[in-house]
């Protein structure tokens, strides 16, 4: 391997691409070549580095300096000053609001963050399998195949306490054991990369930034449950993820890390990519399977569950991208190590995506149980423009809305539901006091009207009615009776809708009515919006 004195990581995640990182990368390569530095400094395009709203983002190693909003015209200065003369270009390192990230070191040293799933994101070139292997890639698979029985692998997963990160928080080890115990001609592993929850883009960036970790985890899952085929179901809009994972599969096959008789163990595993075509509900595992079978992505009646009756009626493990991302580490470092993170009940880390009125929007990975306050004010840099915090919606549009009093609630899969909310996919939408609750509620409900699959009554009809009633209130035509109807309707939907979409559609409304009822009442009684921002 050639020795470089410096590495420049250029973030190649989709948000940064949108901000023009490719041009920056080209300019950088060009400039280095022009100055004859291309033998000494290597430019690496990586996956998401985290602060996606500051793109294009680059990091210069070994110093670990993060430059944000880098434009092509800045490139010569960075090369001249930093790479040639060793002087950091302060002008581009931001205003220090990215505490802990500005002096970008090995992620393990980051103050609040804990990088297990994202350990390679922003460190390696995702299109290079060699770089993945160089950071212990495929060692976990090798360990499983050569040192462990399938039941040992499942036992490790059970002991680790890992629960699914796709929203339902089902214990992964237990899920695998159902499929492992099922007797069938064929079994399947599906990686659920249909990420569609508004405000969530973690799976996209994991797939873009570290595709091999997902492929490796799928093979491990395959070995554990006795499946030889896997599918990555990626939403059609995620073209870069599709490209990266497709390329990753090719590379792994070429190196014998996927395909027939991996490591001479006799275990074979193949992975294919399936593309979605625009339907949020296809993230629901049985809808996803319907879609993979070429049908309308409508959820199936459960039981039976996919673990025993999934794709083509065969036992199938469906796991979220982030869930899978944890697995190679857990295998290599053991369950005890993993339980060292997070809370006893909910070990490990969680990847969050921060959006809305927050200084630093983007991707972070933190231990389970961290408080909302810490995320918003210590990692996220607080609320911009001197405004104050009004509410945070956790878990995406189908999650609940928490007011300021709840800032110190620990964020994990068990505490948030007690507050009427959910951790869900890990989306965090922060809203400042300039926004109207009713207006936002209307926007949430519009989402569900559009995304309901239309199969079951409470959701098909109910989402439209929720939206209709909120809209009525928003334009000043609401009545107190409407609030009572909202409650009965929400109850029916939560209790009787066929799938999680209809069951959680009323959650935002219910929590808003709980914590911000006065604002609804102002719209009804005084026909007035307290924030003065909505249509009234």
């Amino acid at each position: 391997m050639r020795f470089y004195r410096s590495h420049v990581l250029v973030c190649g995640g989709t948000p940064c691409i949108l901000e023009g990182c490719k041009a920056v990368r080209d300019a950088l390569t060009e400039e280095l070549k022009r100055r004859g530095l291309d033998e000494e400094v290597r430019v690496v395009e990586t996956g998401c580095l985290g602060p996606c709203d500051l793109g294009p983002v680059i990091v210069v190693y070994p110093e670990g300096t993060l430059y944000e909003k880098v434009a092509v015209r800045d490139v010569s200065e960075i090369v001249e000053e930093h790479l040639l003369k060793g002087r950091i270009v302060r002008r581009l390192t931001g205003e220090g609001r990215l505490a802990g990230i500005v002096s970008y070191k090995e992620p393990e040293y980051l103050e609040c963050q804990e990088r297990i799933v994202l350990r390679n994101c922003g460190i390696i070139d995702p299109s290079s399998i060699e770089e993945y292997i160089a950071r212990d890639g495929y060692r976990a698979l090798a360990k499983c195949l050569t040192e462990m029985e399938p039941c040992d692998v499942i036992e490790v997963m059970k002991q680790s306490g890992l629960v699914g990160r796709g929203g339902a928080a089902f214990p992964t080890g237990l899920k695998w054991s159902f499929t492992a115990n099922a007797v069938a001609d064929e079994k399947f592993i599906i990686c659920n990369a249909d990420e569609g929850e508004p405000g969530t883009f973690k799976d996209r960036l994991i797939l873009e930034g570290d595709p091999h970790s997902i492929l490796e985890a799928m093979a491990i899952a395959g070995y554990a449950v006795g499946a030889e085929r896997g599918f990555v179901y990626i939403r059609g809009e995620y073209s870069l993820s599709i490209e990266r994972i497709t390329k990753g599969i090719e590379q792994a096959k070429a190196m014998g890390l996927l395909g027939r008789d991996i490591f001479g163990s006799g275990f074979s595993f193949d992975i294919e990519v399936r593309k979605g075509a625009g339907a949020y509900v296809c993230g629901e595992e049985t809808a996803l399977i319907e879609s993979m079978e070429g049908g309308r992505g409508e959820p199936r009646v459960k039981p039976p569950y996919p673990g025993t009756h999934g794709f083509l009626g065969m036992p199938t493990v469906v796991n979220n991208v982030e869930t899978l991302g944890n697995i190679p580490r857990i295998i290599l470092n053991g369950p005890v190590w993993y339980r060292g993170f997070g809370t006893p009940k909910c070990p490990g880390t969680k990847v969050f995506t921060m959006t809305g009125d927050i200084n630093s929007k983007g991707l972070i990975e933190v231990p389970m149980g961290i408080t909302l306050r810490k995320i918003i004010y210590e990692i996220g840099g607080g609320i911009p423009g001197g405004r104050s915090f009004k509410m945070a919606q956790t878990g995406g549009t189908s999650g609940g809305c928490l007011p300021g009093e709840m800032l110190d609630v620990p964020m994990d899969y068990f505490t948030l539901p007690e507050m009427g909310s959910a951790l869900g996919s890990g989306a965090l939408l922060i809203m400042d006091d300039s926004h109207c609750i009713v207006d936002i509620a209307e926007s949430f409900m519009r989402f569900f009207v559009r995304e309901s699959c239309g199969k079951c009554v409470p959701c098909r009809e109910g989402t439209a009615r929720l939206h209709h009633i909120v809209e009525k209130i928003a334009i000043g035509n609401g009545t107190y009776e409407d609030l009572r109807v909202l409650e009965d309707l929400s109850h029916a939907m939560q209790k009787t809708a066929l799938c999680g979409l209809g069951q959680s559609a009323p959650i935002p409304i219910m929590t808003m009515l709980k914590y911000f009822k006065d604002e609804f009442e102002a719209h009804i009684k005084d026909k007035l919006c307290p924030t003065g921002t909505c249509r009234l």
Binding site: P15, L18, E19, D53, P198, G199, R274, G295, R296, F447
Partner: protein, 159 residues
């Protein structure tokens, strides 16, 4: 991958070729419809019939699938489809204004197609780039961190 735009005349052979590429299996329906739409711009009835025939599956089922997913259209659409995200993260940061500007610039409401057949304006579910909200997608290209001023500049590229 892009299939070359085909005229309706070569519909039969184009679809046969697409189906052959993916395999004659109902399970490939989404991938097949995706390619058929790339070839014809949308999913005309004739094309759906041809797909049903090639896969030996009920036309009603093919149509049911084609009308379920938002990336498919059974109606003709403009040469470029502009999808605007107006989900909460984008909504908070001004998606409504973007919609107003787009509608005004193009002279069409959401869901409409310009009379010249160049643009169709639709909404989309979250594009997964909420870190750079508000965002829109034109064909396969995503644009983020948009302000109303960006719109005319972006549209110019497609005009």
């Amino acid at each position: 991958m892009d299939v070359m735009p085909a005229s309706l005349d070569s519909l039969e052979s184009t679809i046969k070729e697409i189906v052959a590429r993916h395999g004659r299996s109902e399970h490939e329906l989404l991938a097949i419809l995706d390619d058929v739409q790339r070839a014809f711009g949308y999913l005309p009835e004739n094309a759906l019939i041809e797909v049903a025939r090639n896969l030996d599956m009920p036309l009603g089922k093919v149509y049911g699938v084609a009308t379920f997913y938002t990336l498919f259209s059974v109606e003709p659409v403009g040469e470029h489809v502009i999808r605007v995200c107006e989900n909460a993260p984008c909504h908070l940061l001004g998606a409504d204004t973007l919609i107003d500007v787009l509608s005004q610039e193009l002279g069409i409401p959401m869901g409409g197609t310009t009379s010249c057949g160049k643009f169709t304006l639709k909404h989309t579910s979250c594009l997964g780039v909420c870190g750079v909200a508000p965002a829109i997608m034109i064909d396969d290209e995503v644009y983020g961190n948009l302000t109303p001023d960006d719109i005319p500049v972006i549209l110019e590229k497609y005009r």
